[in-house]
Symmetry: C2
Subunit: 225 residues, 2 copies
DNA sequence: ATTTCACAAAATGTTGGACATTTTTTGCCC
DNA sequence: GGGCAAAAAATGTCCAACATTTTGTGAAAT
């Protein structure tokens, strides 16, 4: 290594391995129920025996990986039931957090929400026009940023942490919907706009309802095209 | 080791280390913000460098331990604000789970709830009479079992997992209340009875309200004796 | 006496290799 | 083809070593 951390993010090896694995799980490159053999993973992602185990332990706590004693790790299975459970919990967490955010958020927060909404709009039209891995990744990030910004004024570090974890758990389902062209971008756009409007007007009831609707829309397989 | 797993629980080393650390964090033997040096912990609890790091990584994901890059691990700090946050999240999770459980629970579940309530009553009178480490531990376990049983019919593995994690996060606060004699056992008994009654009568509204009240009671420092 | 700085000591993060135990696969016999 | 024993692979654990980073210490300068 000659260059000294060009980007500021030179975090620990475990963190890098974890984000690589998270990405590959989300994109389906590591498939549900797939066995995660340490040696094999090390060949693919680098890192030592030790670091890889630590990473898997971390992802296990995040719910992306399951571990069984003496039988190693595997990608968490992804059944219809899992999706329902994840979506339900996300609904609970995010609506609770949004309600708090609507109480505590100030004008600058409103600004950040508008910015995040704008970013999401751009990313969504981009991925709708030319869907590839890059636009998909950016779209996913924009989705995440929008919700994270929405609730960042809630003042509860634990709710924000939960939001991130469960969003990560739902990523692969959402990206699958995108790949299969089962997202209704028009309706999404309408919901996002309604959500933004309600938030800016501090219409708690409407905002929570629209948010819940938007989350649960990832359950129902909207127009098969 | 001569005996071969008298109890069936001979899980991995990491699991044993984790439960030992959880216990000592809950009982304040490992204090908030205390630095957790690997070598020191190994001397105290056994296990290798590797296993100990893995354990700390696990507890970190559970919120009992905080990690900073290149600066190791320390026990999560326990401020008034942390307690408020934890209690708030517990309220959200457990009420949501109880509502689902009230929809799906069958008669056998009702039986288990009654049994858990009975166990809690016994443990609570025991710890009220002679408060020591043993009765405190059993009381804590009974509290956990009661809530876990209450929501076990909710059908959501993730809600149950969250309940456990956040309950563990609040353990040391609750045990501190007990040590300082700031628990009103009479009111607790009344609330628990009311909760049980409402659950058996499937009175959702009352049950949720009482549950929320019971959780939030751990915030307000009830009668200072 | 206090600040600053260089240097030594301690702690962390990472790696490789080793070994016992357990699971999974393979190949053989019936 | 089914069942079983041996072989192979994988997991879980440990130790020792090293680079890097943080922390503590003590001397020099103001």
């Amino acid at each position: 290594m000659i260059f000294k951390r060009t980007t500021g993010e030179d975090d620990s090896i475990v963190a890098m391995l974890a984000s690589a694995l998270r990405r590959d799980i989300a994109f389906g490159s590591l498939m549900p129920d797939q066995k995660l053999k340490i040696a094999q993973l090390r060949q693919r992602y680098g890192g030592s025996n030790h670091s890889m185990r630590e990473t898997l332990r971390l992802l296990s706590a995040e719910g992306l990986v399951e571990s069984t004693t003496q039988r190693g790790f595997r990608v968490t299975s992804a059944t219809e039931e899992d999706l329902r459970d994840i979506i339900m919990v996300r609904c609970q967490i995010e609506t609770a957090a949004l309600e708090l955010a609507l109480q505590h958020g100030d004008v600058q927060w409103e600004g950040r929400v508008m910015a995040a909404h704008h970013g999401l709009r751009k990313a969504e039209t981009a991925v709708a026009a030319t869907p590839d891995d890059l636009t998909a990744l950016q779209w996913d990030e924009a989705c995440k940023a929008f919700t994270a910004t929405l609730i960042e004024a809630c003042g509860s570090p634990r709710l924000m942490d939960l939001q991130e974890k469960f969003f990560n758990q739902s990523r692969r389902f959402r990206l699958a919907l995108l790949r299969e062209g089962r997202l209704d971008f028009d309706r999404r756009k309408a919901r996002q706009q309604a959500l933004l409007d309600a938030v800016l007007e501090r219409d708690v009831k409407t905002a929570l309802a629209v948010l819940a609707m938007d989350i649960e829309a990832e359950l129902r397989a909207e127009p098969p095209n």
